[in-house]
Symmetry: none
């Protein structure tokens, strides 16, 4: 697994988990990969995965059944969307297009960049 160096790995792992939930690869009630399994699969220190899972539990996106493992919460998707989408659309999107405008980058160019991504 390749991680960008400018973003903490544990946050990148959170993004991976969220994506798996949003794309329904992992559904509500499903048991997710154990810390050790996940750590092995992405070649990262288990402590780092532990930290990601901690954060996800705090946000109630996953929860712990003692002795059984970690599971996707009932309303995981709603929590994720609520947490991210509002901020994205109301804050990041306008800022993004504004910067593009400042730098004289047209919408067509942005679409090109999107495709080559």
């Amino acid at each position: 697994m390749n991680f960008q160096s400018d973003k903490p790995i544990y946050l990148q792992i959170i993004d991976i988990v969220m994506e798996k939930i949003l794309t329904k690869e992992w559904n509500s009630g499903d048991k997710i990969l154990s810390v050790r399994e996940f750590a092995a699969s992405v070649e990262v220190n288990p402590n780092t995965v532990m930290r990601s899972y901690d954060k996800l539990q705090q946000d109630e996106i996953i929860f712990n059944k003692r002795g059984l493992g970690l599971f996707v919460s009932e309303n995981a998707i709603q929590i994720i969307l609520k947490e991210k989408k509002v901020n994205f659309i109301q804050v990041e999107v306008p800022k993004f297009f504004q910067t593009a405008k400042l730098l004289n980058i047209s919408i067509d160019e942005l679409i090109e960049l999107y495709k080559s991504n």
Copy 2:
């Protein structure tokens, strides 16, 4: 001076200087605030300002006249814009589309948001 805590102060100082140049508060050939003056004015350690000025010199946005001080380069504005553009395309754009993907927002929806802006 208030600095946000999530971004290193020395980078925020670079932003301040770039802003002053882009808004023509400081023009090509102008002497900029000395390390000590700037440090005092924003209540920061001179070493921190030095670090910012060092980076700005490396990027040839300012230059040193020995013993006299630091001055705004001839092409400062072009360099700044080019630099911002590179960062935007290589860093911000991918991050933006990645988040959009994570949130299941299609390119068409983004274009809609762009138009209603």
Copy 3:
């Protein structure tokens, strides 16, 4: 460790690192000495070593694996040679010929000196 006094220590440290890479004492992918280790080994303040490592990272000769340390880049050797070549041609060569001119030494005499070398 003995440093010459006429050249900043942090630049001399950069030279040491480059030398270790060019002589393959440190190879691509190898972890290099940590800031603190290097600082202790050459009896210098960690900040000074940090400054050297910072420059080496900017030039992409070494890179950071977060929390693990700094490692030699894939293309480190090529980058170093290219960098040295640019400096030689743009800085040393003009300075050399300028001094020769000052001392009234002709190009033919220099060629003679080259041959007898």
Copy 4:
């Protein structure tokens, strides 16, 4: 007058004076430009020229006739050559060609660089 920023201006002024003497633009016994005249002609602070003249007097390349001005010494040329030439030929020249060799730059390429200088 354009000065390179990497070499102290007062040393660059010394080089100018030496060149004028070596090229016999200024001969033994000639009165040289006063500090103020020279400073004005190269657009530099008189203190800086003063420093250069001080150094040249220490090296006995020029000397002071009280109230009359500064004059080129009898054996100025010999002093300059002795001071510079030996070191150049015995130290700098070998080092220069050695670096060129390390960087795979041929004598022909160096000659090209000389011509385009």
